[in-house]
Amino acid sequence: MLFNSLIFILFISIVLLIYPRLRLRQQNLFLLAANYFFYGWWDWRFNILLFASTLVDFITGQKIHKSDTEKHKKRWLLVSIAFNLGLLCSFKYFNFFMDSTAALLQSFALEPHLPVLRIILPVGLSFYTFQSMGYIIDIYRGRLAPETNFVDYAVFVSFFPQLVAGPIERGGHLLPQIRSKRELTRGKMIAGLNLVLLGFFKKVAIADTLAPVVDNIFAMPDVMSSGQLWTGVYAFTFQIYGDFSGYTDIARGIALILGFELIENFNAPYLSRNITEFWRRWHISLSTWLRDYLYVALGGNRCGRERTYANLMITMFLGGLWHGAAWHYAIWGVLHGIYLAVHRMFLGGEKASLSWPRTIPGWAADTAKIIFTFHLVALTWILFRTDSVSNALVYMERLFLFQNMVDLQASVIFAACLLIALDGVQVWSGSHTWLTDRHGVKITRYAVAQLMFVCTLAAAIAHFNKITPFIYFQF
């Protein structure tokens, strides 16, 4: 069930009609039913997988907590991780490994006949397995007590606003909210609606409008001029941001209306002044997950300089593969690993925070840094968007010929400016719900909200017969 579909509007209307009238336990039971209905709308069989994952991690969580010895704890941890990674490998990576092995064997003049699984990837599998693994590792590390109520835990794993594309929640953050009574206030409702409007604007008005431009250009990069290819780069850079951060905003908004606060996933990433800062602002729930459960587990920066760089590369390589079972994702991750290592090597990877420049030289320097970082990220997105490394190379090659730069589409720049302006206001106000917070002049906020509504409606009408799924659903 897509957020940008009519069936979801019907679904959420029914949920919001019933949910506030129930008591806490009833609310959780009702939420659980809604979660499974929402997820089963794609394919009811997905629910079996979700339930199995929930059951296994619920039991192993208890077992780890009750284990007396470190050996036993580790054993149960491995059971859980093996199960979760087994799911991921079976559904997401099996064919990739088989294809890669076959290609390798073929390079030695062998003709392998390796098995291929004809299965579809369940939506959101990567998200909820990571969320479950995070929960288990936190229990193993003694940072979290296991949930004793199965319904509450099942709601935690399957919470429909963030089930299929995050944010990847932490047990320590969401579980206490599930256990305790929610306050459904008018303020939360308005702030939630604010986020939903913002999310739909980013998704429908910006990302879906840029989608056909991106599809056309990336479909035939070999016949496009450099101007068109640059258009494609910018369009995809803002399409993926609008799409994913739009989803997150809608998810956070709906959760807020239901009385939950989800963690932030984006914080004006394209205004980052360096690559380290970018990863603190982009897909925050995944990057912090990778940092806490993978990078730190590998040794982090505690084992010397070379090992730190290697850990960064391994983490980003796996982060790339998390996005999809294909080499271009892996290389995309490795490239980001290299950027992070280089930044750390030469600039010390200093903690950078975005503050408005007070002096002209500072302002100019920051602007240059932002533009540089933005282009570094944007150019690396080419690998992410193309379906193969060879196509990405063709794209890059033609991109830097700088032929017919007049083909650069002004409409894409306009869409980019809209998103950047929204991020600018967010940074200025320090709030994601600035439309309904007490920032600036009230009438301006009303005007912006109404304008966003009109634009979103116009775009929804224009895209009515071609609903575009969220990009991150495939991961």
Binding site: A205, F414, L451, C455, A458, A462
Partner: protein, 401 residues
């Protein structure tokens, strides 16, 4: 509610902000979701014989999403070049029709009259027929069969044609102009009225003016209007109207089997005008040829499916050949030649679009294909100048204004 000042303030705020946000939405739509606004044909003037014609010497740039051409009207009110008297050896065609025949959205060099003239002249040359061929474009946007008949009467003495070609669209029934008079204000055709005066009622004339103005100027309005038209919402409403009120099938009505009573009457009327036209041309010794103009849905299966969806209809309820069969049967009975451009258009459209994407009229490629095919058919049928030209009336002076 109005006793509460907070609500009054909110309403006031809403009233102020709504136009502003609509303006913003318009800007957003123009930049990111551009739409094809309706052509603004403000170059007409009333005419006592035809109803209306183009304003002599008028110039208007016709802008759309897919075209930007200059309409230049000649000294007598035709979208064509200037003509002089008819010389010896000249075979003159008079092209009558609506926006398809006038070649909406295309430069005059790409128009049907010019392309047909060129194609006929080329074939005549290859057949060593020493005749000069002229095709006069006497078509105008919005004309109906009534206007075709009257336009012949209007221009016959002016041009003294040898052949009259009538472009007949299946949707001509949409505007039967016999009993209507155009209300023309400052050169803009605003509406047609039964009484020809134009009422000033809010929900009549003014609303129509507003809608027309919006369709010329607002891409946001066009977006909404097209959405309502091309989606199931309208299809459902159309079905409801079908069963409860007046019949509304959009473009599908001429193809519906069995033919609706309204459509039967419309064809009856169309054929009565054609019969009148044929009587007059025959009396003048002029050859009449009918060119049935296929709508895009007759050529493109995708367009046909889209229309079916919009109209809430199934293919089984349709006969795509029904209009042509009706025209052929009538013309056969009246001994009028019929030229069918559909085979050539279907073949070409499969390789290259022959219609504008958003507009629905023929594009330059469509016109070229039609003209080449017609010229071939023309020769095969032995029409003038291939026919023994005993009926050709050469040498008469053709006055121009």
């Amino acid at each position: 509610m109005f006793g509460n000042s907070v609500w009054v303030k909110r309403l006031l705020l809403f009233a102020i902000l709504t136009p502003l946000s609509l303006l913003g939405g318009e800007l957003f739509t123009r930049i990111l979701l551009p739409q094809n606004v309706d052509p603004k044909m403000n170059i007409f003037r009333a005419d006592p014989v035809v109803g209306y014609i183009y304003e002599p010497y008028a110039e208007k740039r016709e802008k759309g999403r897919e075209y930007n051409v200059l309409y230049q009207i000649n000294s007598i009110g035709l979208r064509d070049r200037e003509y002089s008297g008819k010389e010896k050896g000249l075979v003159r065609f008079l092209l009558l029709g609506d926006s398809f025949s006038v070649s909406h959205g295309l430069a005059i060099e790409e128009s049907l009259s010019r392309q047909l003239e060129g194609a006929l002249q080329a074939i005549a040359g290859s057949d060593k027929i020493r005749a000069k061929i002229e095709v006069v474009n006497a078509a105008a946007g919005g004309y109906s069969p009534y206007n075709y008949w009257k336009a012949y009467r209007r221009w016959a003495d002016v041009f003294n044609p040898d052949v009259v070609v009538v472009g007949l669209s299946p949707d001509d029934h949409d505007c039967d102009n016999e009993y209507l008079s155009y209300y023309i204000e400052e050169g803009e055709t605003l509406a047609v009225y039964q009484d020809g005066k134009g009422s000033r009622k809010l929900w009549g004339n003014d609303l129509l003016r507003l809608r027309k103005w919006l369709s010329w100027n607002s891409e946001l309005y066009i977006l909404l209007r097209n959405f309502l038209y091309y989606n199931d919402i309208v299809g459902t409403v159309s079905l409801w109207l079908d069963t409860h009120q007046d019949i509304h099938y959009g473009q599908l009505e001429p193809y519906l089997v069995p033919q609706t009573e309204k459509m039967s009457k419309a064809w009856e009327k169309t054929f009565s005008y054609l019969r009148s036209l044929h009587d007059e041309t025959a009396a003048d010794g002029v050859v009449l040829v009918v060119l049935p103009i296929p709508l895009k849905l007759e050529i493109s299966s995708q367009e046909f499916e889209r229309e079916l969806k919009a109209g809430g209809r199934t293919p089984e309820e349709m006969d795509i050949d029904q209009p042509l069969n009706g025209i052929s049967a009538f013309c056969s009975a009246e001994a009028i030649a019929v030229l069918d451009p559909r085979p050539a258009l279907r073949k070409r459209h499969a390789e290259m679009p022959c219609y504008f994407v958003y507009d629905g009229h023929w594009n330059a490629e469509g016109i070229r294909s039609v003209a080449a095919h017609l010229a071939e058919q023309w020769r095969n049928l032995g029409l003038p100048p291939w026919q023994n030209s005993s009926r050709q009336k050469q040498g008469r002076d053709a006055p121009t204004r």
